[in-house]
């Protein structure tokens, strides 16, 4: 089965890429855009059908590698 993970920067952590994207969107006349925060998305295929077990493992992966908890949060979808 596939487990999806989103990693985002914590609030208050500078995101220069997000800022540049926001400014570009504003420049393209999307004047409603107030802020953009860029993140990462992972599709992780695991060899089990036990969703609970898989998500527990993926959570461990997030803590150990996929996210740097100093600056990032993760969400398992």
């Amino acid at each position: 089965m596939k487990i999806k993970v989103i990693v985002t920067l914590k609030d208050g952590v500078l995101d220069p890429q997000g800022k540049a994207i926001q400014q570009t969107l504003n420049g393209m006349n999307f004047s409603e855009v107030k802020e953009v925060r860029q993140g990462k998305y992972f599709d992780i295929e695991v060899n089990t059908e036990d969703e609970k077990k898989a998500k527990t493992k993926v959570e461990e992966m997030c803590k150990k590698l996929l996210a740097n908890l100093v600056i990032e949060d993760y969400k398992i979808l």
Partner: protein, 227 residues
């Protein structure tokens, strides 16, 4: 004195570091990232570059490589570990040093000479060094040092801030902060000062005909302090 430079796929300052260490008297060995053991050394260096192509986050994959376990053991037993640039990023990703190196504030790869002030000389790296301010080279896209407020307080209280960006007279300000680093931090120590991570490259400044000579002060002093 013996040293070891770890080479990761994508390291590109490993040979410069080898030349610098040898020039100032170290017997240096190069160690491949897939090895398990590091030969007996007085100093281990994690060099600059783009280990594993900077995939995921700078230094994150190198931080999980086979050789890192030996580096962590060596560091935890009090051994001297020096991380330059990507080496600094790897040290934060392994947890040997606190904080993280974010992308530069203005989204640019910065490649230029800077001045840094030595903030703490009570350690093997800077004890007795003849200069207070060094002119060194930086070349990075992720050098914006960041940590939590509590962590910053702890760094200050334990004298862990090693070098800070400043002007040629030693004055720190936003104007001379190239990447937006917190408190102009260019390098930090571990709590017991045996681990040093810094963004500037002393190994690029060891020949007065090619560049500044200020890296020479660093290496000359380091080997003297280890004798």
């Amino acid at each position: 004195m013996k040293s070891a430079v770890i080479i990761f796929p994508g390291s590109n300052c490993d040979r410069d570091m080898d030349v610098a260490l040898k020039k100032f008297g170290f017997k240096n060995q190069m160690v491949w990232h897939n090895d398990h053991e590091i030969p007996k050394s007085d100093l281990i260096v994690l060099p600059g570059g783009f280990s594993y192509g900077d995939y995921l986050r700078c230094g994150s994959i190198a931080g999980k490589s086979k050789i890192i376990k030996s580096v962590v053991e060596f560091a935890n037993s009090g051994g001297l570990v020096l991380g330059i640039c990507n080496g600094f990023q790897i040290l934060t990703e392994t947890g040997l040093l606190p904080g993280v190196l974010l992308q530069n504030k203005y989204q640019k790869f910065i490649c230029k000479n800077v001045h840094v002030k030595i903030n703490n000389k009570e350690n093997k790296y800077f004890k007795n060094i003849k200069k207070e301010i060094l002119e060194l080279h930086i070349a990075h896209n992720e050098g914006n040092y960041f940590c939590s407020e509590d962590e910053l307080k702890s760094l200050i209280n334990n004298n862990q801030i090693a070098v800070t960006y400043c002007n040629e007279n030693g004055k720190e300000s936003d104007e001379v902060n190239p990447n937006g680093a917190l408190s102009n931090i260019a390098g930090i120590f571990s709590k017991n000062k045996n681990i040093l991570g810094m963004m500037p490259h002393p190994e690029r400044m060891i020949d007065k005909y090619l560049s500044s000579n200020d890296g020479s002060f660093f290496f000359e002093n380091l080997i003297e302090n280890l004798k």
